[in-house]
Amino acid sequence: MFEIVYNPIAFDESRKKMTNPRAGGFVIFEGWVRNHHDGRDVLKLEYDAHENLCRSEAKKIEAECFEKFDILELDCIHRVGMCDIKELAVWVGVTAEHRGDAFKACEYYIDNLKVRLPIWKKEYYTEGEPIWVRCEECLKHAHAINEHKHEGVH
């Protein structure tokens, strides 16, 4: 399950969604808005997203998690719009019978979300103009996909 929200993430409510009685482990990742990046003081962040593409791509990542790992439930909420320092930008929760696969699936999901979902982040600084962040890992991912296609491999 993947959801985009425009207001602060109600993570307590998300936590209550995870109810599988077979679960023995529950791993949560919270992505927070931090007050610095690359040596610059950050005041706030702004996220923009293509919601339909996010939903379809998130569904694929979720399916990959269920295929690769022995997990029971997976839920994710991503915030868009303006976010203040220390607010939650993203919340990922995974339950499993045992903690190992819950940890692995949670890491796999957030790593892939960051490079695959059409979500963009603008940083506002204490000094200077705000900029849309160019994530180098995300660029590598885009280049890999483009090169993959140019090689004619599908």
């Binding site: 923009d48 997203a49 593409l53 379809s56 930008a89 962040v133 160019r134």
Partner: protein, 79 residues
């Protein structure tokens, strides 16, 4: 033919609007991006861009059709 283009993030700021209807001849989506890039000066390397049509990612050689809903995906940064 007419196509609809949606703009996000830095592209939206370059264009000054979130979407527009454009009258074009059939062409690959990469050529259409180059056409808009010449007009709006996106300041992005085309190899950094991915393409989506009607809510699905497509290759750069995708041939545009009437009423396609087009999105250019600049470098992402979620999470």
């Amino acid at each position: 033919m007419k196509v609809n283009v949606q703009y996000f993030a830095m592209l939206k700021e370059s264009v000054g609007k979130s979407e527009e209807l454009v009258e074009i001849n059939p062409m690959p989506i990469l050529d259409f991006y180059d056409h808009l890039n010449a007009k709006y000066q996106f300041k992005l390397n085309e190899k950094d861009i991915r393409f989506a049509v009607n809510d699905h990612f497509v290759d750069s050689d995708y041939l545009l059709k009437e009423n396609d809903d087009i999105v250019f995906i600049p470098p992402v940064g979620g999470g």
